[in-house]
């Protein structure tokens, strides 16, 4: 089971960060060719990411490339770099329709064939950054078998909604978060919460992490390495949760050994989703 708690944003044009971000051990590294890179440097950043993707240090970390949007002149070459470079996932920003994902998939398949990569090997994720994206989230999440995750991007979305971030429970993001989450769960893919931009405010960051975790997000997009550990610890199950998870898995093992079709614990039936949850809890406990 691939843990996707932390997705660390790494500007594609930054030599120092490309060279070191793997040491922080995020669950995924996202090389950014979009907002982090000025138009003047798009060509140079693309080559940086293409080369970095092939560095041995990134072999064992899930790599994501955020290409430029389909309304820019950059995305097709970005896609070549990402697929040929061996990125695990291509992240499409500002996704608004299922067709965009399908068009992307066609191009990805073409490039995979051209470079000898197994067709279907490159996965996709969509970033929702507008009202249209939110209302189309379900269709987007289901648009392709390559879809593995859907992310909520707060900044552009709030501009589209004519509002701005607030403290507390952040009502301005409530519907979008819920919609994206439901789309993810209906499509059986992962969901990422918004970036928290104030790197000097750990308290605010953790408050937002609690919201995301409570809502059920798999993880969060991060812009600073120090947010990784904070996030992993916040997502780590409590001791009580860990012991409970161990008991659930022990019960499942026993049922399996005895050839029983049904798992029970403390007199109650334990459904497969609960067993799955227990496995995830132990995995997160180990990885915290």
């Amino acid at each position: 089971m691939k843990l996707r708690r932390s997705m660390l944003f790494v500007p594609g044009d930054n030599g120092a960060m490309l060279s070191t971000s793997f040491v922080y051990n995020p669950d995924s590294v996202m090389f950014d060719l979009e907002d982090a890179v000025s138009p003047r440097e798009k060509d140079s950043a693309r080559l940086m990411v293409y080369q970095a993707l092939q560095h041995p240090a990134y072999r064992d970390i899930e790599t994501v490339v955020r290409i430029n949007g389909v309304d820019t002149p950059f995305w097709q070459e970005d896609l070549e770099a990402a697929v040929r470079g061996g990125a695990d996932i291509v992240r499409l920003p500002k996704t608004e329709t299922a067709q965009e994902i399908q068009e992307l998939e066609t191009h990805v398949a073409r490039i995979e064939k051209a470079c000898g990569r197994a067709v279907g090997d490159t996965k996709l994720m969509a970033a929702i950054e507008s009202a249209s994206g939110v209302v189309n989230a379900v269709a987007i999440a289901r648009a392709s078998p390559r879809m593995v995750a859907i992310a909520m991007a707060g900044f552009d979305y709030l501009v589209d909604m004519h509002t701005r971030r607030s403290a507390g429970w952040e009502p301005e993001l409530f519907y979008a978060r819920a919609a994206v989450l439901h789309a993810a769960r209906a499509a059986h893919i992962d969901a990422f919460d918004v970036v928290y931009g104030n790197v000097n405010d750990d308290e605010g960051f953790l408050r937002e992490v609690q919201i995301a975790k409570q809502l059920g997000f798999n993880g969060k997009s991060l812009i600073h390495p120090k947010q990784i550990d904070l996030l992993h610890k916040a997502y780590a199950p409590t001791e009580a949760e860990v012991s409970h998870a161990k008991r659930v898995l022990a019960a499942a093992d026993e049922a399996h050994r005895k050839g029983l079709g049904v798992v029970s614990l403390d007199g109650k039936m334990v459904d497969p989703p609960v067993i799955h949850e227990a496995e995830m809890a132990l995995q997160m406990a180990e990885a915290a």
Binding site: N14, G15, M48, Q51, A52, H55
Partner: protein
């Protein structure tokens, strides 16, 4: 590829490099490398730069590299970017860039 104009790529930051490519009036290929770690890594840097230029079939030009301790993959990328800019290449031939 033919170098037809001057171009630069990269930055002066740590772990990066600044690459300048210019047409050569002498028809030769000249590579000049400066680095804070020239003693330990000079040969390695030159090997990566030369290999990258060879794969792009750059036979003539003046290439000056100001290295700030970059990894091989970063050196490759910046040299490629500077060369492609200097050759005004619009279509990338990905086989030459690996």
């Amino acid at each position: 590829m033919k170098v037809i104009k001057e171009a630069i790529a990269g930055t002066l930051e740590s772990s990066d490099l600044l690459v300048k490519v210019a047409p050569s009036d002498r028809g030769t290929r000249d590579v000049v490398i400066r680095s804070e770690v020239i003693k330990q890594f000079g040969k390695q840097i030159r090997r990566v730069v030369t290999d990258t230029l060879d794969k792009l079939s750059v036979s003539g030009g003046s290439i000056v590299v100001e290295d700030k301790g970059a990894l091989d993959c970063v050196i490759r990328a910046r040299v490629q970017a500077a060369v492609l800019r200097a050759c005004e290449a619009n279509q990338l031939e990905w086989e030459r860039l690996s």
